[in-house]
């Protein structure tokens, strides 16, 4: 996922509520959509996106586990790493 060594990288970390956990924010959005005519939308879930730049990409995983994400209730994905 992450190339190690050499220079700064930009990373995007996607953080989502774990599957099966009630997400009232997603529900509220889902319930509001029909008022705008969007009546075919299901399973809305709201997470968080963290963009960052780092010289130590090999530590990203640890950084996510220790701060960005509470792994008890959330899961994360390091989705995009540009040189």
């Amino acid at each position: 996922m992450v190339e190690t060594g050499g220079g700064a990288v930009k990373a995007r970390v996607l953080i989502r509520p774990k599957q099966g956990l009630l997400d009232p924010q997603g529900q509220a959005i889902e319930r509001a959509l029909p008022a705008l005519g969007f009546d075919s939308v299901r399973d809305v879930r709201v997470g968080r996106l963290v963009e960052l730049e780092t010289d130590r990409p090999e530590r990203l995983q640890e950084l996510c586990e220790r701060l960005l994400c509470n792994t008890l209730i959330e899961e994360f994905e390091i989705v995009e790493v540009e040189p």
Partner: protein
């Protein structure tokens, strides 16, 4: 008894906590940059919005210098009470199990609720009886207690649920009506309701005072 009331940037119930503690002992504020809690007999982590509740409620406060001292204090068996945001901080710091999620209704709830003492085997409930009902307020947006089912089972089986919302009083969708829990070692307690806001009849209820009284009395007995 000497109480330490920890203050983070964004704490807002610190003065009420200090007042509640000072009815039963000597109480002092301790700044979040401090790393020493020597000389204190009890630590209270008050409510508020520490570090703006950025990232997740309680997440950043859990990393502050004073929390290292709280960890050591707790490891040595000292009584620690986390109220509301303080409960969130203790969960995020791994001193208590579970997490506090956004309320089911997504609303900030601010009202008086009835809470039952589920365990009288903690320093903060020791002078009560199981089943004792306390009228104390809640005021929070992320107070829905959640833990995996096996953790909840363990908590119940080992008597670590300390407070439950009385039937019909669960304001946030907390699992199994849990309002407060205690650490495996029995000395770190966290709860979402605010006992420090209910220490005088003038405030609508004085039922919350008993938590501070219990811990102060325990010291006298010890």
């Amino acid at each position: 008894m000497r109480f330490a009331v920890v203050r983070f940037p964004g704490s807002c119930d610190d003065r009420d906590a200090l007042l509640a503690c000072s009815r039963f002992g000597e109480a002092h504020f301790v700044d979040h940059r401090e790393s020493d809690l020597a000389g204190f007999d009890c630590v209270v982590i008050p409510g508020g919005f520490s570090y703006g509740d950025y990232l997740r409620a309680g997440a950043l406060a859990g990393l502050s210098p004073v929390m290292g001292a709280v960890r050591r204090f707790a490891a040595a068996g000292g009584p620690v009470l986390g109220i509301c945001n303080g409960f969130q901080v203790l969960c995020e710091a791994g001193l208590l199990p579970g997490a506090l999620l956004p309320n089911c209704g997504l609303r900030f709830v601010c009202r008086e609720v009835e809470v039952e003492v589920a365990s009288a085997a903690t320093p903060f409930t020791r002078c009560t009886e199981p089943g004792t009902r306390l009228r104390i307020p809640v005021k929070h947006q992320s107070g829905r207690y959640w833990a995996p089912p096996d953790v909840l089972d363990t908590l119940e089986r080992t008597g670590r649920v300390v407070f439950r919302y009385a039937p019909g009083h669960n304001p946030n969708g907390s699992e199994r009506n849990i309002a407060g829990v205690v650490s495996a070692e029995g000395n770190v307690v966290g709860l979402m309701p605010h006992p420090e806001h209910a220490v005088d009849a003038l405030l609508g209820s004085a039922d919350g005072a008993v938590l501070f009284e219990c811990v102060a009395r325990a010291e006298v007995a010890a």
